[in-house]
Each structure stands twice: as C-alpha cells, then as structure tokens.
C-alpha cells in the first residue's frame, strides 16, 4: 500500500470535518447572496437574485 491509496481512503472523522466545512461555506454563501435582508446586500445582489430566481423584493 503506497501513500496515494492511504490518502484517498479518507477517515470518517476527516470526512466529517470536510462535510462540515463545505456545508458552512455553502450555506453562508447561498444565504448571503440569495436571502440576506440587508438593503445594501440586496441592492448589490439584485440582478443576480432575479436572474437566478431567488425570491426577491
């Protein structure tokens, strides 16, 4: 068994950490661009929200 196969077989805890990081990044970004109520964020994101059919206004 060489190093490559060891690194590709990620441990459960390593996977859990990766999933948590990805979920946090994903939710924070999608919430900010699509849902945040701040007027400034809304105005900046306005056209993209409409264009990607997030609920807007």
């Amino acid at each position: 068994m060489n190093t490559a196969t060891v690194t590709s077989q990620a441990s459960v805890s390593e996977r859990a950490k990766a999933v948590a990081a990805a979920l946090i990044l994903g939710f924070v970004l999608v919430y900010t661009v699509g849902f945040a109520a701040s007027a400034n964020v809304h105005n900046a994101a306005h056209d993209a929200r409409h264009g990607l059919a997030f609920p807007c206004h």
Binding site: N2, T3, A4, T7, S8, A10, E14, R15, K17, A18, V19, A21, A22, L23, L25, G26, F27, V28, L29, V30, T32, V33, G34, F35, A37, A39, N40, H42, N43, A44, A45, H46, D47, A48, R49, H50, G51, L52, A53, F54, P55, C56, H57
Partner: protein, 252 residues
C-alpha cells in the same frame, strides 16, 4: 481534506460563475433592465393620484418599494451599484458567490455519502441540484422580473428553502434507497411542497408585458441549469486533480 474541499469549491465556483456571468450579461440582465423601465414608468405615472386616492397608494405599498426599502421613496439614500460597469461587476461577483456555494453544497453531499467524485457523478449530482434548488422552487415561485406582484418576502423565502431541502432529500432517498415504501414516501415528499402551495399575491399587478416575463422565466431556468451543470462539471474535473496533487505532495 478540508483544504481540498475549500480549494475545489472556490476554483469550481469561480470558473462556473465567470462563465454564467457572461451568459447572464447577454440573456437575463437585459430583460431585468427592460422590466425596470416599465416599473419606473408605473411609479412615475400615478404619483399625483396617490395623494388623492387611498386605493392607489395601497397598490403601491403592495408593490413592494416602501415595505422593503428597496426602490421608491427612500431610494436616493440607499447605496446601490451604479448602472454600467459597477452593476455588472456586482452581478458577476454574486453569481460567482452562488456558484461557490453550490459547489460546496455539492461536495458536502457527495463526501457525506462517500461518493466517488468524478466528472460523471458530479454532473449527475449537479442535475439533482438543479432539480431541487432550481426547478422545484420555480414551479411554485416562477422566476420574476422586477415589478411583479409577490407575497411577503419571508414567506416566499421560507417556502423556497423548504421546497429545496425536501426535494433534495426526496431525490436522494428515491435514487439511493431500494425499499419501495421509502420510494413511495420520497414521491410523496416531492409533491408535498406543491400540495402546501407557494405563497402568492392576491392579484397580479406587473405592467411588464407577459411576453418579456415568459421569456425571462425560461431564460432564468436555463441559466440556473447551466450554472449547476458548469459547477458540477468543474467540481468533477478539479476534485481528482486536487486529490492527485495532495497525494503527490504527501509522497514527496
């Protein structure tokens, strides 16, 4: 692995986001700008009547501007990107942000169930992502141009999130669980948000011609599908690359 998730999300989102921003610039955004001219005309026109007739004023409130502090009365005091380059830049930035977010969610799902991440599988997950986050919510809340009447924002956002989450879960169960009772439940769950129904306004009030609105709805869905597919493809290409790279550094 955390570093690889972040790297691949960022790179995949950046690539897909840039591509889709360019598409938006020539498809949906011109229609939004066009719709705004109708919206502005509507706002300008009944202004003198507003003071005289209560009914007119109420229509304006339902229209959204005052209630959400978005456009209209307090318009001048609020920051918003200037038309032209700045506005395009922000739209592109937000689209890239959305793509990075979708890429991260895609990776979260695939890693959580220990799926092998390659081009074909990432694309298949991206198709399901579009069904759950794009198509299913759009069946209740059709992509809207500025100026369209809509129910209260929080209710729509809640319905959107609930529909996306339930649809994603139901698709996963249907595709990955063999038991027929689980599949039946999944189909029921797919229908549930639509049986509950999305919040809708009492009456339509947009002055934007229906042809433009219909064109926009179709374009918006196509752009979303393209965003998901481009993101999924980029994730599928970049993940094995990042894995090889980290394996190489570990071996060295």
């Amino acid at each position: 692995m955390v570093t690889r998730v972040l790297t691949v999300s960022l790179l995949a989102g950046l690539l897909a986001g840039l591509l889709i921003s360019a598409l938006q610039h020539v498809t949906t955004t011109p229609l939004i700008l066009k719709a705004e001219t109708y919206e502005a005309a509507l706002r300008a026109q009944p202004a003198p009547m507003q003071a005289a007739f209560n009914g007119e004023a109420r229509i304006h409130l339902a229209h959204g501007p005052a209630a959400h502090g978005d456009k209209g009365v307090g318009d001048e005091h609020e920051w918003k990107p200037q038309d032209g380059f700045q506005r395009t830049a922000f739209t592109s930035l937000v689209t890239i942000g959305t793509a990075i977010g979708f890429a991260a969610l895609l990776l979260a799902g695939m890693i959580a169930v220990n799926e092998r991440i390659d081009e074909r599988r990432a694309l298949a997950w991206a198709v399901c992502g579009f069904l759950a986050f794009g198509l299913a919510p759009a069946m209740g809340l059709a992509p809207e141009l500025p100026g369209a009447a809509a129910a209260e924002l929080q209710h729509r956002q809640l319905w959107w999130l609930m529909t996306a989450a339930v649809t994603a879960g139901a698709l996963f169960v249907f595709l990955r669980v063999e038991a027929s009772w689980a599949r039946a439940l999944a189909v029921l769950a797919l229908l549930l948000p639509h049986l509950i129904g999305a919040p809708h306004p009492a009456a339509p009030e947009s002055r934007v011609p229906a042809e433009i609105a219909a064109h926009f709805a179709a374009l918006s869905l196509a752009i979303q599908a393209a965003l998901w597919l481009a993101t999924g493809f980029a994730v599928g290409v970049l993940w094995p690359w990042a894995a090889r790279r980290s394996a190489a550094t570990a071996a060295a």
